[in-house]
């Protein structure tokens, strides 16, 4: 596509992921921005280069990878699944089994390029094996079957102490480092401060770059699956399953493929989350984690990759914002000055005698903890988005974009 009148001369350029000049420029700038963030040189966003915000951004990337997986199953193929947490746990413990140095718990001490793909493959295989049960039911029934999966998984994780460390202490996971084989010093260590290309870089920023790179790879794979034959088959099953079959789509086969791919993504995300946190207990892979992923794709926009990423940012950063906001409110109330203290006081509970919706001192007095309040918020947001904006944040973005496309005209 060059010169006026800006026509496509090949189908390839029309089908490209970034098929207009504007998209190419914007995406380029966005990537540059993401790369510059850890160095604290972006005006207005310097706070993001703080270690705690860097960790939060890494978490966003990890959650986005997991949500991309659920998006393939739920957003594209239309199969609601609450079992995502189970596959994430499976991926995490597979990573531990292959990646951790031999010790009292399972561990083979293999490098990252072995344990990371396996952390995806093992859940994918399990997903395809469980699939035949799951593809027989649809809708609400499927949600219940996969709900059972989470509880069975949690039971197994709690009791298989050799693999998971049990519910008391949990276990450690492989460290994020790039080794060729089992040598002493890794080529790249993502979990210690160091110098890259002559620039000093903190541990958290290194991890962030790794997660960002992995996210970009998985976004590309997901986008490509979505725009080719298999992705269209998924979407046709979602929209009209019987018509899809009459049009030649083997429903059972493609649902199984969707289960497998989704579990692969989940496993990778689980392994990354566990290694990122370092030590975790089996209860981490519980229903709440699954619900968080449902929240991500519903709030972000089901079936749209950019929506899923928006959703991941939203759902992951929300607790932090609530936390900061509550402590800011608590300070505001304790200072006791200003016109809206009474309003803030209604919202926040600061002591045993003080009533409020959110309690900044857990265990003291009435009110929800920040964590509980977040859960309520997720639920509320899912309901609101389902009713008012089924396309999620992506839908809101579409509306803003279309408004400015036509501006100053109304259409």
């Amino acid at each position: 596509m060059r010169g006026r009148p800006m026509l496509y001369t090949r189908y390839e350029s029309d089908q490209a992921l970034l098929n207009t000049g504007t998209k190419k420029v914007m995406m380029g700038l966005f990537i540059v921005l993401l790369v510059l963030i850890p160095f604290g040189v972006v005006p207005g966003l310097t706070f993001l280069s703080q270690p705690d915000w860097m960790r939060l951004l890494s978490t966003v990337c990890i959650f986005a990878v997991g949500a991309l997986g659920l998006n393939i199953l739920t957003g594209l193929a239309g199969q609601v699944s609450l079992g995502h947490a189970f596959f994430m746990g499976l991926g995490a413990y597979t990573a531990a089994w292959f990646g951790v140095e031999p010790g009292p718990l399972s561990g083979l001490g293999l490098p990252m390029w072995v344990w990371l793909p396996l952390a995806g493959l093992v859940p994918a295989i399990v997903g395809v094996l469980i699939g035949p049960v799951a593809v027989r039911v649809r809708g609400l029934y499927l949600a219940f079957v996969t709900l059972g999966l989470v509880f069975i998984g949690e039971y197994i994780f709690r009791n298989w102490v050799y693999a998971t460390g049990g519910p008391d202490s949990g276990r450690t996971f492989p460290s994020l480092e790039w080794k060729i084989w089992k040598e002493e010093t890794p080529l790249v260590d993502f979990q210690s401060d160091g110098v890259w290309f002559g620039v000093e870089i903190i541990e958290e920023a290194k991890t962030y770059f790794l997660m960002l790179l992995l996210l970009v790879i998985f976004v590309l794979l997901a986008k490509n699956i979505q725009r080719t034959r298999v992705g269209r088959a998924f979407q046709s099953i979602r929209d009209r399953d019987i018509a899809a079959e009459i049009m030649g789509v083997n429903e059972v086969q493609y649902k199984l493929v969707a289960f497998g791919l989704s579990s692969f993504y989940a496993g990778i995300a689980g392994a990354l989350l566990a290694t990122f946190i370092g030590r975790t207990i089996p209860e981490r892979w519980n229903l709440f984690l699954s619900v968080q992923f449902i929240a991500i794709i519903l709030i972000g926009g089901a079936g749209v990759v950019s929506g899923v990423i928006l959703g991941s940012v939203f759902v992951t950063v929300l607790p932090r914002l609530v936390q900061d906001f509550s402590s800011w409110l608590a300070d505001y109330v304790s200072e006791g000055e200003g016109a809206f203290v009474w309003l803030a006081d209604l919202f926040i509970s600061t002591g045993s005698g003080d009533f409020g919706l959110v309690n900044t001192l857990p265990g003291v007095g009435p009110g929800l903890s920040v964590f509980q309040f977040n859960q309520v918020l997720y639920g509320l947001l899912i309901i609101l988005f389902l009713i008012f904006e089924p396309l999620g944040l992506y839908g809101i973005w579409l509306r803003i974009r279309n408004y400015w496309k036509g501006w100053p005209f109304t259409y």
Binding site: E12, A222, V230, A244, E245, E251
Partner: protein, 288 residues
């Protein structure tokens, strides 16, 4: 217009060569009839939907099935597609039985259809909808697709070209990138025809293609149907209530009533059949 000359179409010709690219025809070279339905019975519990219906369709023929509402016309389509499984009888496709196959296998063997109540994928664009029709003529899997490289990419591009040919033929260029759910009814009907054509079928089953359309839209659709039959040499089974259309374009007509066949033959012959008149208009009551 049997026997007479058909009106020349002004639209763009869809070349069979383009449509048939990369397609392999299923089945034997020689057979008695393209499709042969033999004495099929289909009942749901006590309700007899199809009762002893037989007919056959030959290559390149435009065969119409008519009958009052609830006569079992759509059930016939569903039986041929193996969505329903008739309890008795046999359905032969190029001499081999379709009975017991899965619906997607019938699609692979060259049967395509449209639906009475449009069954497009509303959240996908026109382009994607028609591309799903190419599903049976493509073979790259998820692994090849996920890296968008080499054969999978070439296959996507080649099939995009086929789909563009269909879009030109059906004159829906301006809707190409719209989600189908947003389009007007008449356009959706065309897209559905396009999706069926994209399968490069040997038999096209059209379930009420002009239901709810005005005269102009009906004439457009009739033109597309005739072009498909003439230019692409695809046999067609047409279920339709618009008698004017059926009598004008069908080569042979089957009339069913309450699941039973009551007449089959050329349009003029069927129109004169007293049983058909009885089924449609009821019996004359002797004035006492």
């Amino acid at each position: 217009m049997p026997g007479g000359k058909r009106p020349k179409s002004g639209g763009i010709k869809l070349s069979g060569k383009l449509l048939r690219r990369n397609s392999e025809r299923w089945g034997p070279e020689n057979y008695d009839h393209l499709l042969e339905v033999k004495d099929i019975h289909l009942s749901f519990k006590g309700v007899k939907a199809i009762d002893d219906v037989s007919f056959h369709v030959d290559d390149g023929e435009l065969f119409a099935i008519i009958g009052p509402n609830g006569a079992g016309k759509t059930s016939l389509f569903n039986s041929i597609n193996q969505v329903y499984h008739p309890q008795e009888g046999d359905i032969l496709w190029k001499g081999e039985s379709l009975m017991g196959l899965k619906p997607n296998v019938t699609a692979e063997r060259g049967l395509a259809r449209t639906f009475q109540n449009i069954a497009l994928y509303p959240h996908m664009t026109v382009l994607e909808n028609i591309l799903t029709g190419r599903h049976v003529r493509m073979d790259s899997g998820w692994l090849a697709g996920s890296i968008w490289w080499g054969k999978a990419k070439r296959e996507e591009m080649a099939n995009r070209e086929v789909v563009e040919g269909i879009i030109d033929f059906l004159e829906i260029e301006q809707w190409r990138k719209y989600p189908v759910g947003l389009l007007p009814y008449g356009v959706q009907k065309r897209v559905e025809l396009g999706r069926a054509l994209a399968m490069d079928p040997e038999l096209l089953m059209l379930d009420e293609p002009v239901a709810g359309m005005n005269l102009e839209e009906t004439e457009d659709m009739a033109r597309f149907i005739l072009d498909v039959q003439d230019e692409l040499d695809i046999a067609i089974i047409l279920v339709e209530h618009d008698m004017g259309l059926v009598m004008d374009i069908a080569d042979r007509v089957l009339v069913v009533d309450f699941g039973k066949p009551i007449a089959v033959g050329p349009p003029a012959e069927v129109q004169a059949n007293p049983n058909v008149i009885k089924a449609y208009l009821g019996e004359e009551v002797e004035a006492g």
